[in-house]
Symmetry: C2
Subunit: 591 residues, 2 copies
């Protein structure tokens, strides 16, 4: 139907006859001469319909006069040099003089045009129009290139792409499962996988050595701006490896793929940081190293102040008093400081003490009065505060202070333009094996229950569970956890010990994970792996904040597809076939 793509017409084709298919991006009728910007996935080229000396060309001009936005056209014409070159587009040196214009499909008046900036609801409802825009085409193509580059990289290195089931077993650990009633088994359900974790471990025990899959995963969680019900991860697993084997290989992969797809040169060696160091310096296990702000511990300097909010945590081994100096932060108004306190509050802060030093050296601080002069001066000096700065202080439980001061750091980075250009990858390692859940009064796994501890001995792990370190690792890029993995447990006795520490009794473990415990008994090899978040990496590469821009048909934060109107009610007869019914409203769980 066509000889060339619109966006690829160039001067080498001048004088040739071409046939193009595309949409009318813009059409202008200048009275007897019409210009149509014809658009396909490669770009835009200008088409001219004008009277011809030879045959008048009247029919072509008449057709062109009636062309409207997004009409689907097939145009034949001759390529010629343009009088007024358009340097903004790739084809700007040339235009097509039309000898035939065929309207393949007339477009009705549009709900919006991509030249406008419609609201997201409209964009999602008419997703097919939204995706036609060159900007969305570019973003989606970045994702395609990313996935393709990853696959080619792994295919060349002996990794096997193996599909694991979507209809699988419910394992109520971690996030909430999506359930699928089983027609052939009344009262029973399949679950959609939260990740292929256990299947990929089984694949290692099954002898596949090096596995990958671009895998769809499902978590029925509250949707935040950057979450989807279903998401895609590059899932990988290796047999007979240590942490560094996995890390070195995937670090090289990420570096190569960023270079090839985005033209970005990442560090030749990613920095490495323990979880403890990341929390201490940046208040985050996924620090954005582009922001040159660091937390400073000041417990020693405030322990003897008269400020009870500080002295308690300063004396508590589980407490923390941390300061964050923001250069130029003295420009913050009282209202803006309150906004910082409110922001910290979302992460658990009860308040946000500060010391502000004006450009001329005047100090304003609600906590100054609790210190004698020397102690206050020592504090100011220790955090390196000078004229024009503000220093925020957080005090309380170690993890809470780290969390909210980390959040303050990110906000300050953005507010004061302290986020450097470029790319800051790093590895975070040595995560705690367990976190104590106050509410459930039991340990929970910081990664997942299949992560190996750094100790080989079960008795050792049991004796030191609170301080045990795991063999997990995360790859962080610009403040995003883009990949997470670990060396897994490969012996049944250690797996049982970990289940036990997590409060999963032998019977429950057998019911849920019996196949894993069995498989570990038959010569399971040491193994480990990692999973990368494709949606997030694609968004980073495409330069967009929203992963919805790199997903063809995303759901809203309300878990709906506005284009197809999913989810939707189902006839009761159809539900009967799968042996379920909608629950009467009263007995349903609270919303």
């Amino acid at each position: 139907m066509r000889t060339h793509f619109c966006g690829l017409i160039d001067e080498t084709l001048i004088g040739q006859t071409v046939t193009l298919c595309g949409w009318a991006d813009v059409a202008r009728d200048l009275g007897g001469v019409c210009f149509i910007d014809l658009r396909d996935h490669e770009g835009i080229v200008q088409v001219v319909a004008e009277a011809s000396e030879a045959d008048g060309n009247a029919e072509v001009v008449a057709t062109a006069e009636k062309v409207g936005y997004e009409d689907c056209l097939r145009i034949t014409g001759t390529v010629r040099a343009r009088h007024s070159v358009n340097a903004k587009i790739r084809t700007g040196q040339v235009e097509i003089v039309a000898t035939s214009i065929e309207v393949l499909n007339k477009a009705e008046p549009l709900p919006f045009h991509h030249h406008e900036n419609p609201g997201e609801e409209t964009r999602l409802k008419y997703r097919y129009l939204d995706l036609r825009s060159p900007d969305m085409q570019r973003k989606m193509r970045t994702r395609t290139k990313l996935v393709s580059a990853l696959r080619h990289w792994l295919d060349a290195r002996g990794f096997q792409d193996i599909e694991t089931p979507i209809l699988t077993k419910a394992t109520p650990e971690g996030a909430r499962d999506f359930l699928v009633p089983a027609r052939m088994h009344p009262g029973e359900f399949y679950a959609l996988p939260q990740s292929p974790q256990l299947f990929k471990q089984i694949l290692m025990m099954a002898g596949f050595d090096r596995y990958y899959q671009v895998a769809r995963c499902f978590r029925d969680e509250a949707l935040r701006a950057d979450r989807q019900l279903e998401f895609t991860q590059l899932d990988m697993e290796f047999a007979w490896v240590s942490e560094r084997d996995v890390q070195d290989l995937v670090e090289a992969m990420i570096r190569d793929v960023f270079r090839d797809v985005a033209g970005v040169e990442l560090a030749a060696q990613f920095p490495r940081m323990t979880y403890a160091e990341a929390m201490r310096r940046f208040g985050s296990d996924k620090p954005d190293l582009r922001i040159a702000l660091e937390l400073v511990d000041v417990a020693e300097l405030v322990r003897d102040s008269g400020f009870a909010v500080f002295t308690g945590p300063a004396a508590d081994p589980g407490g923390r008093v941390a300061a964050l100096r923001i250069p130029g932060g003295a420009s913050l108004s009282r209202k803006q400081i309150d906004e910082y306190a409110a922001h910290a509050g979302k992460y658990g802060a009860k308040g946000l003490a500060y010391i502000k030093i004006s450009e001329t050296g005047e100090i304003s601080s609600p906590i100054q009065k609790f210190f004698d002069e020397a102690a206050f001066a020592a504090l100011v000096s220790h955090v390196g505060a000078g004229n024009g700065d503000i220093v925020f202080f957080g005090a309380g439980k170690y993890s809470t202070v780290s969390d909210f001061m980390g959040a303050v750091r990110l906000k300050a980075g953005k507010d004061f333009n302290l986020v450097a250009d470029g790319w800051a990858p790093l590895w975070v390692t040595d995560f705690p094996m367990f976190e104590w859940d106050d509410e459930a009064q039991r340990y929970v796994a910081l990664h997942h229950p299949f992560t190996a501890p750094s100790v080989d001995d079960e008795a050792d792990l049991r004796a030191n569970a609170a301080t045990a370190v795991s063999r997990g690792y995360d790859m962080v890029l610009n403040g995003n956890e883009i990949g997470g993995g670990s060396i897994r447990i490969h012996r049944a006795s250690m797996q049982s010990a970990v289940f036990d520490l997590l409060g999963i009794g032998a019977e429950e473990a057998q019911a849920k994970f019996g196949f894993l415990l069995d498989a570990l008994k038959y010569g399971a090899p040491p193994h480990g792996g990692i999973a990368f978040g494709i949606d997030r990496i694609a968004a980073l590469m495409a330069g967009t904040e929203s992963i919805r821009d790199v997903i063809a048909f995303p759901k809203t934060t309300g878990a709906q597809c506005l284009m197809t109107d999913a989810p939707s009610p189902i006839a009761d007869a159809q539900l009967a076939e799968v042996h379920v019914q909608v629950r009467p409203r009263a007995s349903s769980a609270a919303q």
Copy 2:
């Protein structure tokens, strides 16, 4: 952890020290000298543990003596030439003299060993052990190579791999949907896609031009031997194309991939056959052309016989009387002939008339008596029957006769070794647009409701619905439909007309497919595509009858995963969260 793979050790490494990881495939203790066949995904190498003059090597020998089947080992040793070469394995020229044997994970006594031939239930329950066998490794690797080759081929040609949703809208047309209760929308459900059909069409309207996806699809149908609840297709769609554009491209793809992955050279140009011709000659829309047997229509020759079973259909324009000559078929006993009749009966035959001509020319036929001598001789001559042959006859409704005679043809092909070696691909085209469903008293779509008819005009289609031909096409290989596709409807008015002919009213069409009808209004381009069954193609390439051999974790025909025990019962509290409950048994649909 290792320097080499077991299966790749060869003579170039003689004298070198290597470290290998793998499983003990076999271990033999010959008293002071132990042999271990060490196996990884690349193959097997022989390891020798023997006393050394240097240091005695006693510990190594002692460890080796205790090695059992499937122990997970790490072995260091020196490569040397073997005394007795084993030509059966790739590494058969060499062996490893062990200097260290580390038992990474001892295997408990196995439920079976892959050297045995356990039943399928056992294989599926202990899938990780089954998959370790070299045969299963080879089959699974064939699939990996197939998918990788297809992707690389398409990536090189500008196709974009785009993911479409798994949680989508129920469209109760075609097969039964799997349903997923929506937690955030009480009483509503997502459905798993039967295919990405509508999404890929929308992608063409969204400007992606050429799309592919290795897509998981879901159909909640009764499982036959070669079906799974979830299956994988290579899904493709092209904008601005005709049938031949699609066919020529994917034919080249299949040819290249068979050559590269399986070393198979398919025909330089696939034969093309209309649906009508395929049914007439082979009684199937997916004829296995390796079998040199053809149906012959004999209505003209039996119309005036005295055999009412023949004369009725022979005179009926909707009837058929067909013959199938089987060379050498005279060897069939009465009992075997009955088996053929029973086989045909499964496909709707009420009986199976025959003429048997012995090697010495004696005729045995229950229908001979209905013919005069000349007419009978003419019939025998027309079907080309000679000494040693049998000819089966089917009479009745055209489609029924075609079906069961097609089934008889396949059975005869197998029984009489008439299936030629090699590969017989072809295109089947010109399918009927609609089939009349006697039960529902309405038309149903032979492909799907989005397939374009060969006529452009809605009035023409409505006037000739019964005989309308679609723009659908199937790729058939050795009697398997490995790919099916069509040019799609790209105008809203034609789509509405087809919905109407299928008994889908305007309101229902809007509720189910409103987004498609909307999208068609905004300049939808002409488009078409195809989908290939990856599981079946992989099975064909791997030389196995069962697609379960090329799926890592398949379900049984009872829709269960025997390894994980899915599906399983779910706590009522968890069901309450998603607003459903198990239906009381009595109100459930009949099993």
